[in-house]
């Protein structure tokens, strides 16, 4: 069936770049905690976290270079999670 192995080699440089971005984003999150963003603070923090996990999933976990089916799997899980959040909010925000 599908190819057993996808021999895409990622240069070390890319890994280092991703690592540096992750570290800087962490620094950003920590710095931002000191500033008063009011209600959107949580949203901003989650946004940064989302960017970070995208990097980790794509590069360190190799999703970017794997078969499309793995992206489908990931999408199903994330879409389910999103729907659960949205549906729960019909209770939380309308009580």
């Amino acid at each position: 069936m599908e190819k057993e192995h996808n021999t895409h080699l990622i240069p070390y440089g890319t890994y280092v770049l991703v690592w540096i971005s992750l570290v800087s984003l962490t620094v950003l999150t920590v710095t931002m905690a000191g500033v008063d963003f009011g209600r959107i603070a949580l949203f901003l923090a989650l946004l940064i976290a989302a960017v970070k996990s995208t990097l980790v999933i794509n590069y360190f976990m190799h999703i970017k270079f794997d078969d499309a089916i793995f992206r489908v799997f990931l999408f199903v899980a994330l879409a389910t999670l999103a729907s659960i959040f949205i549906l729960t909010s019909t209770d939380i925000f309308f009580r």
């Binding site: 069936m1 549906l87 019909t90 009580r95």
Partner: protein, 545 residues
């Protein structure tokens, strides 16, 4: 692997021994043996559960104390629920028949991760022991109901943590089995076995596996949060500590509603196997049935809060979830109509497995239709938390899943054990089961409608007549189950040898000997047609190639 093909007859899996004595079972990574390990464990738990239910019904013979006190009754219904739900119905069909037949039906020699498969069984047993251990420890057995609702589950002094951890461990067993099945279906299909040639049982298991993988972690986290709150007194769910009790109900049902589809989808898959075989006719609407499994799995995620209509959740949420609940009925209805259409003008042979399936269609329809009564807001307010709900879920879970587990047992018994049971006796058990079942549970619809609340050990005198009828029903039902199991156990030792294909089935498991050889197939089959092609039934009897 594969070198044994030249020997005149490959050793069957019951004789093949990689280890000595009991270890031939306890260390076996053969998916068929693991299926049997699950079968033994689950039937044992089932009988523990039945016994607890029997005692509960005895208590309900009179309005006041009959044989147990209130606290014991609380423990009884909790353990009955925990055992039946987490140890029997949820893992049931996938763990037993999925393990045994999924690889065979797709033309594989085993599941993708055989060792992980054995490990899942050990997790299952460990979880089961945890759940039961609370019986014998100080503090006494858990009394929260199988739903573990907070804040009571955080405050009660009984042994809550052990059964909770038990459910947590069982969750892992379920996730790993799901993972194994998904990978197996994607990776190990025989040449020519395209997705649309998969038997519908495999489709159902595949959809179920996705629910197991995606939904189960939610209950895992929820359980851990309750444990953390109990031990560390951090306010998560208990309002006294600043928590939100409705959050628990959301999280619990985000898992437990999809879990009811973990229970029923595999059963629907079995039905889609049995009906074509005994109607000698290809299934009506193959693709529609396959996709309705996926649709049920998907929509099943979006209806959970119909268990919370009277919990104090927002009106908006109540309307949204009521609407969504009605949508689930559509793919379920699609299946029922397709089954009936398959039977229509088929040359029906009324053998034991098909009789159990007919019983299923009848009972499950009642269960599903009363689900709609519960799904609409106005009527639910009247009957929620009454015996009506108890009747509803027994019709769908017992009348649905458990009856099909029995059907599957009769359908595949000759293949699994190479023995034939006494079919007259198998059929003779069904009227007892059917009549007993309806006496036991239909009365509960009426009781609930009249206002009898669930989970009480005593009641007003005017309910007594119906309670007595119900209790007598439980005796008839249990009698039927005893006949059924005794017949099968007898056949295990004294049954006549079974043919490779006693029913004239056309899926791959019927092309190999009964019981199957250790590695299932001498040669991996090359699949050239869809799963329910009865046009050249005689060719398939001596193996297609």
């Amino acid at each position: 692997m594969g070198s044994a093909t030249l020997i005149e007859k490959a050793e069957n899996y019951l004789e093949y021994k990689a280890h000595k004595g009991i270890f031939a079972w306890l260390l076996s990574t053969d998916h068929k043996r693991i299926g049997l390990l699950y079968l033994i464990a689950m039937i044992s738990f089932l009988w523990v559960g039945i016994t607890l239910g029997f005692i509960m019904k005895l208590e309900m013979l009179t309005p006041d104390k009959t044989i147990v006190d209130a606290q014991t009754y609380n423990a009884l219904f909790t353990l009955h629920g925990v055992i039946m739900i987490f140890l029997f119905i949820i893992p049931g069909i996938p763990a037993i028949f999925g393990n045994f037949f999924l690889p065979i039906q797709i033309g594989a020699r085993d599941v993708a991760f055989p060792r992980l498969n054995l490990f899942s069984w050990y997790l299952y047993i460990t979880g089961g022991l945890f759940a039961i251990a609370s019986l014998f420890l100080q503090g006494g057995p858990i009394d929260t109901g199988w739903t573990f609702y907070v804040p009571y589950s955080i405050r009660t002094t009984t042994n809550v943590i052990l059964p909770l951890l038990g459910a947590f461990i069982l969750g892992f067993s379920s996730i790993l089995t799901g993972l194994n099945f998904i990978t197996t279906v994607h990776r190990l299909r025989a040449p020519g076995m395209t997705f649309f040639r998969l038997p519908l049982f495999v489709w159902a298991l595949y959809a179920t596996a996705w629910i197991q993988v995606v939904a189960t972690p939610v209950v895992g986290i929820t359980i851990l949060l309750v444990v953390i709150e109990r031990v560390l007194h951090i306010g998560i769910f208990d309002p006294a500590l600043g928590g939100d009790p409705l959050l628990f109900q959301h999280l619990f049902w985000i898992y437990s509603h999809p879990a009811v589809y973990i229970m029923i989808l595999p059963a629907m898959g079995v039905v889609s196997e049995i009906i074509p075989t005994f109607a000698r006719r290809t299934i009506f609407g193959y693709k529609v049935i396959a996709f309705s499994s996926l649709a049920i799995a998907l929509i099943g995620y979006f209806v959970w809060a119909h268990h919370m209509f009277t919990s104090g959740m927002s009106d908006t949420a109540r309307m949204v979830f009521s609407l969504l609940t009605f949508l689930v009925a559509v793919p379920s209805g699609v299946k029922v109509f397709n089954w009936v259409a398959t039977l229509y003008k088929g040359s029906i042979e009324l053998r034991a497995p098909l009789i159990y399936v007919m019983m299923f269609i009848f009972l499950f329809s009642i269960g599903g239709l009363t689900g709609l009564v519960l799904g609409s807001l106005a009527t639910d307010i009247h009957v929620t938390d009454t015996y009506f709900v108890v009747a509803h879920f027994h019709y769908v879970m017992f009348g649905g899943t458990a009856i099909i587990l029995f059907a599957a047992l009769h359908y595949w018994f000759p293949k699994m054990f190479g023995k034939m049971y006494n079919e007259k006796l198998a059929i003779a058990a069904t009227p007892f089961i059917f009549v007993g079942f309806n006496l036991l549970y239909f009365t509960m619809f009426i009781l609930g409608y009249l206002g009898m609340p669930r989970r009480y050990w005593s009641y007003l005198p005017e309910y007594q007549t119906l309670h007595i009828i119900s209790t007598v029903g439980s005796w008839v039902l249990i009698l039927g189950l005893i006949i059924m199991f005794a017949n099968l156990i007898y056949a295990l030792f004294k049954g006549k040898p079974a043919e490779a294909n006693p029913w004239g089935g056309v899926t791959l498991e019927w092309t190999i000997p009964s019981p199957p050889p250790h590695e299932n197939f001498d040669k991996i089959p090359n699949v050239t047609n869809g799963p329910y092609d009865f046009s050249h039934i005689n060719e398939t009897k001596d193996g297609k190639s």
